[in-house]
């Protein structure tokens, strides 16, 4: 039997290709179906949700009642503001601090570069342990403060390494000529290096943003006051633990069915990730590999 040859490689037989297609289709369906179900249920009409006994895959019609009640100013609205605050402020601070550190580490001839780089690299090899971490956060007076969600995770060693690799690969002649023109480190960094690094800055920024948005562990550990809860903790309480959301929690009289409210909370926590995902996806493979190779 002769096989069709494309670019020097024999094309697999059709049963093999069909088999691969089916396997990949199943994989993709298993990933996509839950998202479709959740989004559909959040906008499905009450009658359809009751008839199906819960989740709906294709809504008959679309209604946004659940979202209206969530945005009416109750628990979920507040949690949304907390999550947005932590994500925006946290990402800005993380980027600033990480870039400064990575830039210093990328400068050839920086006298303290080697020991600081070792401190950064070595911190990736172990995690500090729950109890001592809790004591440090408590000792810093951060318990029951939103800063507890930001400060302990502000610098990711991995992201610093990726940024440093990028800064190091910028052509040395550019910074050298800035130096000759009399620019100090701050000017070189602000006017030369940062503008050349927009791509890597946005990717690392998105990595930080995603991790702040998803932060659950810190909130569970450090926040007792439910007024400070970010979206992830609200999600745990009202969706996973199935605590009922009453009209007092929502700040509205009209109550859509719990199922659609729960799914709407879930959608609110997923959508920001889905929005930045196409952009993340374009760049992350490269970012991750740079980090892996240079680290």
């Amino acid at each position: 039997m002769t096989r069709r040859i494309v670019q020097g490689v024999p094309v697999p037989s059709w049963p093999m290709r069909a088999f691969k297609g089916v396997v990949l289709l199943v994989f993709c369906a298993v990933v996509i179906l839950p998202f479709v179900g959740v989004i559909s249920t959040s906008v499905a009409p009450n009658k359809q949700i009751n008839e199906s006994g819960g989740l709906v895959l294709l809504p008959d019609s679309v209604n946004f009642a659940a979202y209206k009640s969530l945005f009416a100013g109750g628990v979920v609205t507040r949690a949304l503001f907390v999550s947005i605050f932590v994500t925006v402020i946290g990402t800005l601070l993380s980027l600033t601090v990480s870039c400064l550190l990575a830039y210093a580490l990328s400068r050839p001839g920086f006298s303290a570069g080697r020991p600081i780089l070792l401190i950064v690299l070595f911190s990736m090899l172990f995690s500090p342990g729950i109890i001592p971490m809790y004591l440090v956060v408590k000792g810093a007076g951060l318990l029951d403060s939103l800063w507890a969600l930001i400060v302990p995770t502000m610098v990711s060693a991995f992201n610093v390494i990726v940024l440093r690799a990028f800064f190091s690969n910028l052509p040395g002649e550019i910074t050298e000529s800035a130096r000759i023109d009399g620019a100090g480190e701050l000017k070189t960094f602000g006017y030369i290096v940062l503008p050349l690094s927009k791509a890597v800055l946005s990717v690392i920024g998105l990595f930080y943003a995603v991790s702040y948005w998803n932060a659950f562990f810190g909130a569970l550990l450090y926040l007792n006051d439910s007024k400070l809860w970010p979206l992830q903790l609200v999600l745990r309480t009202y969706v996973i633990n199935d605590t009922q959301l009453g009209s007092a929690d929502l700040g509205t009289e009209l109550l859509p069915p719990q199922a659609s409210i729960q799914m709407a909370i879930l959608v609110i926590s997923i959508v920001p990730i889905l929005l930045v995902y196409p952009f993340l996806q374009r760049h992350f493979a490269k970012g991750v590999l740079t980090g892996a190779v240079k680290g």
Binding site: G8, P10, G53, S111, G129, I131, L135, A157, I270
Partner: protein, 314 residues
């Protein structure tokens, strides 16, 4: 790194003068370094409470030393601790067998696709779950497999027996393992795909000229090409072998009870932060961390003996 043509005159300066010269860069590096020291290295010192009868109102300095008392739960084999250890090891074993090879197989499958476009679409879809938090993943699984989830709605609609997977302690381990596969298999293929793209295509041509079938090519060309990265990841995994998803498990503990779901990390959290047995919890956490480090060092040693590079060179 920049290559210098001749030794920089600055390198002959004394350390103090060099630091003074680099004061701006030092200032740049200060906040980040301070944060890493404060939240990665300082907690290591906090482990001292494993040797103390820690009382929160007395503080670390004020609490009395208690020697090895806190380690008694470990060495005397306290049943709750042993159960947590057993659950941890079972989950680790399941992950080594089921979770670890999954991305390798998936990467081989993706790599064998002819259409770049299909490959890219499939990758975009399969990477997505990695960016979801554990809270979202657990909630999605509940909606799919729980009592009123999609699966059971379907079974009910077709007059079949329902199957409650969430909250069933017998199925908990399978559930937890499949969640890990769902969340991170796609993402984990990135490294393997990169390694696969490095393999010289002439090797495949040579093998096929020698009459090797597709399967034999995978075995004799592809697998040796992946060996380095597989060993590297396995060693890193070993270091984490006593860590099995704190967030994932604490979220689902209420539904199944602690018998099957208590692992070392949740044991530390439940007994320390919630139960107030700070010293004992810190002792368990400390031993767990040390075992992880020892396992990595040992595995690396073994890798060197077999002539592999491992995580770091010797």
């Amino acid at each position: 790194m920049l290559q210098r043509t001749k030794p920089h005159p600055a390198q002959q300066l004394s350390l103090g003068r060099r630091l003074l010269r680099d004061r701006v860069l030092l200032l740049f590096a200060l906040p980040g370094t301070a944060l890493i020291l404060a939240f990665h290295y300082l907690p290591l010192l906090g482990n001292v409470i494993a040797f103390k009868d820690y009382q929160p109102f007395l503080g670390i300095g004020g609490s009395d030393w208690s020697g090895w008392d806190n380690f008694a739960v470990i060495f005397n084999g306290d049943p709750a601790f042993l159960q947590a250890l057993k659950n941890t090891l079972i989950l680790t074993g399941l992950q080594a067998i089921l979770v670890f090879p999954a991305p390798i197989l998936l990467a081989l499958l993706l790599n064998s696709l002819f259409s770049e476009r299909i490959k890219r679409i499939v990758q975009s879809i399969l990477y997505l779950p990695h960016f979801m938090s554990w809270v979202i993943v657990v909630a999605l699984f509940q909606q799919m497999l729980g009592g009123s989830g999609l699966l059971n709605n379907y079974l009910r609609a077709h007059d079949l027996a329902t199957l409650d997977i969430i909250g069933n302690s017998e199925l908990f381990r399978v559930l937890v393992t499949s969640q890990v596969i769902w969340k991170d298999t796609g993402w984990a293929t990135i490294l393997f795909l990169a390694a696969l793209s490095q393999i010289d295509s002439q090797l495949y041509e040579a093998a096929s000229v020698d009459g090797a079938s597709r399967m034999r090519q995978v075995w004799h060309v592809t697998m040796p090409g992946l060996r380095g990265i597989i060993i590297l990841l396995f060693i890193l995994k070993l270091g984490d072998s006593l860590t099995v998803g704190f967030e994932q498990i604490i979220l689902q503990q209420q539904a199944v009870g602690r018998d099957v779901s208590e692992v070392l990390d949740t044991y530390v959290y439940n007994n320390g932060v919630l139960g107030g047995a700070w010293g004992v919890a810190a002792a368990v956490g400390l031993v767990k961390g040390l075992v992880g480090v020892v396992l990595v060092l040992a595995a690396n040693k073994v890798a060197h003996i077999f002539g592999e590079q491992g995580v770091y060179s010797r």
